[in-house]
Amino acid sequence: MDVLMLSRLQFAAATMFHFLFVPLTLGLSVLIAIMETVYVKTGDEEYRRMARFWGKIFTINFAVGVVTGITLEFQFGTNWSQYSRYVGDLFGSLLAIEATLAFFLESTFLAVWVFGWKRLSPRLHAVCIWLVALASNLSALWILIANAWMQHPVGYVLRNGRAELQDFLAVVTQPFAFQMFFHTVFGAYILAGFFVMGVSAYHLLRRQHIAFFSKSFRLALSLALVFSLGELVHGHIHGAEVAKIQPAKLAAMESLWETRAEAPETLFLIPDEKNQRNLVEFGRLPGVLSLLAYHSTQATVKGLKDFPPEDRPPVTLTFVAFRLMVGLGFLFALLTLVGWFKRNKLESSPGYLKVMLYAMPLPYVAMQAGWIVTEVGRQPWIVYGLMKTSAAVSPIAVSQVAISLAAFIAVYGLLGGVAFYLIMQQVRRGPEPATAAAVPGEG
């Protein structure tokens, strides 16, 4: 394997691993902030215990997220130096702004929150976790503005042999960036909701801490329901925007080979990339793809064959990941809708609780699949239409990357295993006993 392939694998491994932890940070921080606010408003100690229990899990998750995030920023320099040189004028500033606006706030106030239970008034303590939630979501916004620019470069001019910033506002206000932001944070809230529901279901099924976990479950359910439904609507809008600005990606997402008007949505198909066709097609809904992508059954959708072979993304991976994400998205809406009708009789719904326990990994799968669609579907471009991935890689020795990739896999594998074990341990341990928090002077 060459430096390019190894560097791509390394970045994929590092980002995907990092993104196992980020969505829970984004969503759980909001849930904990709500719990602590309820405690401050009502004085109900149970909500304080909830904030502490979920906060413990949050802290472990956050630690792994934050340390694996640092390597990502530096990998643009280590492995993608030609990219950094070519677009750093624009892309680098977005990363620097993310650090200045969001990372400081997030890291500093999480530490205050963790160490400040006895030092701050309950109100100020709750403000800290709100700041963490705000900062992590703000960091998502800036990194997605940066990623959106790779998907749809705007506001630049080619000058001095590189892409230079021409219109900052165009870069930071482009609609596609906000579409990506909402799509991602909605997903993160769904994931955090399912995480809390899954853990709560575990305890409810064992008939322990019933009141504590019923409250947690209902709170998480409300969040997950709203954003699961929201994601269905928004996902469609987002997809239509992809159709407009990245037609090759859309064709790969749908495995559509021939350009045609009244393009059908095929319920089941198997792509055959080598022969540029689909092996099996089943359940064609005429005009539906045209309708979804361009809001007219008559609209023409460009097929893969109309793109030069070297400009096509890998079809099977993009297609499968997209189908998986969309299918899971519908499942999340269904599961949370069912949950809404069972919300006040959770204890007598063991079947539903069991489903929700086993559904916990699914939003993680959907998130990863979504990023595969976004990033693999953008290939062969690193910046869509502007720079090829193959032109972006560093002039470094293949042995260096081989060794670092092996180290990433080893260290991250270990880290992932340990984090999983520790989070499971917290989950099983359950909340602190109610009396501990009620001791005078401890609060």
Binding site: R52, I60, A63, V66, V67, I70, T71, E73, F74, F76, G77, T78, S81, S84, R85, V87, G88, D89, G92, S93, L95, A96, I97, A99, T100, F103, F104, L105, S107, T108, L110, A111, V112, V114, F115, G116, K118, R119, L120, R159, N160, R162, L165, Q166, F168, S394, P395, I396, Q400, I403, S404, A407, V411, V418, A419, L422, Q425, Q426, A437, E442
Partner: protein
């Protein structure tokens, strides 16, 4: 002009990073020498616990600013120093999770594992950051195309190693002073004794490094043409002497602040010597990366300046507030009950 402003902001950001992460890296590396039992080890963790992560963001910001303001330097610096940087990052990863992981399982072997990660993961970046920056001062083998023509071993030369030892000693003294400020009893006495003991080697290595810089680098060119600038290394040395004087009087906070000034002074000594180069080439001075050939467009620099001047003061304000919030000495009873990982 804009380029020059960013050059010095770039240098100051790295200096602030060294000054802040320096004390928690130093404390971490000294863990096995300071703490003799589990309670004392917990106290060491606790003394740096609320600060290390906020300090480390200065590294991300220094890296981010290198990317934003000098993208070509960012590209060459980090692809050239690939293996050294990867070692630093993996060390920081293992060290970062130690804070949270350590007390999650009550087993001596488990704790020893993460204590080892904290210690090694603090020691290695302290050393390697010094090696890397000394090599930048000295010049890296960068060719006409801006490609680094060396390996990890290129960095292993007497001057680079001296830089590594210098940073390590600076951070160790900085860390032991921090522990002397933050703890009490035997732990404080051990930390104070360590700071005093390490001060002499630090003075020796600092003096050696300064003289080696005369021979091994072209840092002094700027100082020869503008002798007034010699005030910077002079202030660094004066601050180092002050560290000693304050230590002798038992004024640990002041000694720690003097140590901050020393670290900033040493960094700025190098940065001012480099100006206007960010990465001198050891192959041919003409291949060096400078403000002129590696800076971002004026528009980007302007926008980033507005962002930095607006938000960095806010960051400094709330980070100072955190130091006031956790200003008390760490006591054993703090370890029980709520608060902490």
């Amino acid at each position: 002009m804009l380029g020059a402003i960013w050059f010095f902001l770039w240098g100051i950001l790295w200096a602030v990073y060294f000054m802040l992460d320096g004390f928690d890296l130093g404390s971490g590396a000294l863990l096995p020498f300071m703490a003799k039992n589990d309670t004392e080890r917990k106290l060491v963790y606790r003394a740096i616990g609320p600060f290390w992560d906020g300090n480390e963001v200065w590294l991300i910001t220094a890296g981010g600013v290198t990317f934003a303001a000098f993208p070509t330097t960012y590209a060459v610096m980090f692809s050239g120093l690939y293996s050294a940087l990867m070692l630093i990052l993996f060390a920081l990863i293992l060290r970062g999770v130690s804070f949270v992981f350590r007390n999650e399982v009550d087993h001596p072997g488990w704790k020893a594992l993460w204590d080892f990660c904290l210690c090694g993961g603090s020691f290695l970046p302290a050393l390697l950051l010094g090696v890397a920056f000394a090599n930048i001062f000295r010049g890296l083998p960068i060719d006409a195309a801006g490609v680094y023509q060396g390996g990890l071993l290129t960095l292993i030369n007497p001057y680079g190693l001296a830089g590594g030892v210098l940073f390590l000693l600076l951070f160790l003294v900085h860390g032991s002073l921090w522990l002397a400020v933050k703890t009490e009893g035997p732990l404080k006495r051990r930390a104070a004794a360590m700071a005093v003991r390490l001060w002499w080697p630090l003075l020796l290595v600092a003096a050696l490094f300064l003289f080696a810089s005369l021979r091994a680098t072209s840092l002094f060119d700027n100082y020869r043409s503008h002798p007034a600038l010699l005030l910077i290394p002079a202030l660094a040395v004066a601050a180092l002497v002050l560290v000693y004087l304050f230590m002798r009087r038992g004024a640990w906070w002041r000694a720690w602040f003097a140590s901050c000034a020393t670290i900033v002074g040493v960094t700025l000594f190098g940065v001012v010597g480099l100006y206007p180069r960010l990465l001198p080439s050891s192959i041919d001075p003409a291949y060096s990366l400078t403000i002129a050939n590696s800076a971002s467009s004026p528009l980007t620099l302007k926008i980033m300046l507005v962002v930095a001047l607006t938000f960095v003061p806010i960051v400094i304000a709330y980070q100072v507030w955190v130091h006031f919030l956790f200003k008390d000495k760490i006591k054993e009873e703090d370890l029980a009950g709520e608060g902490g990982y």
